[in-house]
């Protein structure tokens, strides 16, 4: 399959999912969910029953408003990438992996005037903050800046002891790699849509989802690449 075809296929899947999603959202406007006692579910596949549980059983507060101006139902609808990676249990076969990488590359929008580094001090705050986009029983107030919560999964400043290890260590990231245009592009791509290099990675698509703004991405990139940033400066000692 050439790239044109794979993108066309991807677009078709997207349209298909959008239609199904619309149908599901329409479905959850039903006045009252069926209960297990009233309805025979035994003919349903686990996948179909799972979709029923999410969108029509009343199990989720789907009408709640989100910070992005939609409702919680939209958060539950899977986009093509989420669906493909879930079904592949995050281990896509080579052909699918190539399609995912291609679509991810096409999804990346670069800032006008090139990729610039912001303020590493603000980046340090954003890398630590786990606030943003939570709904449910305690809705995040977006008058505070939305953080990237990088430390949940990565080591950055070697003096910060509270770091996770779901992702690789990024300590001394810029000190070891420099700050060339190629490095900047790679870091930007990884934050914006990491599936462009690692199909079905666990890492969020902070740019695609608009979880982080362009400005926040530039601050976090400075935290990673600026020689003055503690991520790098402590490496020289």
């Amino acid at each position: 399959m050439n790239k044109q075809n794979s993108i066309a296929g991807y677009a078709l899947i997207t349209v298909g999912v959008a239609l199904i999603s619309a149908a599901l959202i329409a479905g959850c406007a039903q006045p009252r969910p069926d209960t297990q006692a009233e309805r025979d579910f035994s003919h349903m596949s686990p996948e179909a029953y799972a979709e029923y549980l999410i969108f029509r059983s009343g199990s989720f507060n789907l009408d709640q408003a989100t910070q992005e101006g939609t409702t919680a139902a939209d958060r539950m609808v899977q986009d093509p990438l989420q669906r493909m990676c879930s079904e592949a249990r995050n281990r896509p076969q080579p052909e699918l992996a190539v399609r995912i990488v291609g679509a991810a590359r096409d999804s990346i929008v670069y800032p006008e005037g090139g990729i610039k580094l912001g303020d590493w001090r603000q980046g340090a705050e954003l890398a630590r903050s786990g606030t943003g986009f939570r709904i449910g029983h305690n809705v995040d107030d977006h008058s505070r800046p939305v953080g990237g919560n990088c430390y949940a999964c990565h080591q950055l400043d070697p003096d910060e002891l509270g770091f996770g290890n779901l992702g690789p260590s990024l300590a001394a990231y810029g000190a070891l790699r420099g700050d060339s245009e190629a490095v900047r592009k790679f870091v930007y791509d990884m934050i914006y849509n990491p599936h462009s290099y690692f199909p079905c990675t666990q890492m969020p698509r902070f740019g695609v989802s608009e979880f982080l703004t362009q400005e926040s991405i530039s601050h976090i990139m400075a935290y990673l690449l600026d020689p003055e940033s503690p991520v790098n400066s402590r490496h020289a000692r």
Partner: protein
């Protein structure tokens, strides 16, 4: 001399009890938890739950002693490790928290608006009755092996759908339960993560109720499910909903054969 040896053996035995023999960082990585394991504040909650369970309450002036948790009215020993399960009288698969509420309604006559049912979770100023009763009933399965029944078609469909939900990526961060619970020996910040495929870790991890040191109160299975969907930036899940029970059904099935620690102590 013999006395010293015996004392030494006893000490070694108590240290080796449960988690100490493991190389799992989830089970052994937090010394603070291991040190406190013998003095679990959840026991206070359990004792209060025992009182509430036997107390005559509600518009129908009844205790919960006739509540059927799946092994017959009033049978508590081993009931919790065989849940969630299909209940013919309710016509649905229920977890322990939902079943307690069912009995508070049918036996005691409480309604959804009454505090004993309406208050689902504890705060630092007020412990929920439901959490206390749950802690007491669950504690009657301490040390037993998780063994939820899969005889009824709805029990199997519920578990299988729970597996789909567990792996289903969605929301602003593309997360699923699997994001944090499939790769061994990983941490979020300093918290070691239990893995669903490791029975030793998983059977301890799903051992709710647990006194959560960071919260200062006892938490439940339903509270854990809510917290996960919240952190995943997905829609808020409703207490006792069929989806929440599907997740709990799948996670209990994954712990099958592993020993339950009830009540547990967690970070």
């Amino acid at each position: 001399m013999l006395k010293n040896i015996l004392a030494g053996v006893a000490l070694a035995g108590s240290l080796a009890g449960g988690a100490m023999a493991s190389d799992s960082p989830y089970l052994t990585g937090r010394e603070q938890l291991l040190m406190l394991a013998d003095d679990n504040p959840a026991e206070l909650t359990m004792w209060r739950g025992e009182e509430l369970f036997h107390q005559v309450r509600g518009p129908k002036n009844a205790s919960l002693e006739r509540c059927d948790f799946g092994l017959g009215p009033g049978v508590l020993k081993g009931a919790y490790v065989r849940m969630p399960r299909w209940f013919e009288d309710a016509g649905k698969v229920m977890d322990l928290e939902s079943r307690i509420i069912h009995c508070m309604k049918t036996l005691q006559g409480f309604t959804d608006q009454d505090d004993p049912i309406a208050r689902k979770h504890s705060s630092d100023t007020r412990e929920a009755d439901l959490v206390a009763i749950y802690t007491y009933v669950a504690s009657q399965s301490n040390g037993m092996k998780w063994n939820p029944p899969m005889n009824h078609p709805m029990e199997r469909l519920t578990r299988n759908a729970g597996e789909v939900l567990f792996h289903r990526r969605a929301g602003s961060m593309d997360f699923a339960c699997a994001t944090c619970h499939t790769t061994p020996r990983k941490r979020i910040r300093l918290s070691f993560l239990p893995v669903e495929s490791n029975v030793e870790e998983w059977s301890k991890a799903i051992s709710w109720p647990a006194y959560r040191i960071g919260h200062g109160v006892v938490r439940t299975s339903q509270h854990r499910v809510r917290g996960c969907y919240y952190q995943m930036r997905q829609a808020g899940i409703q207490f006792g909903s069929d989806a929440s029970i599907a997740i709990i059904s799948y996670w209990t099935h994954q712990a099958r054969g592993g020993v339950a620690t009830l009540p547990d102590l967690k970070r």
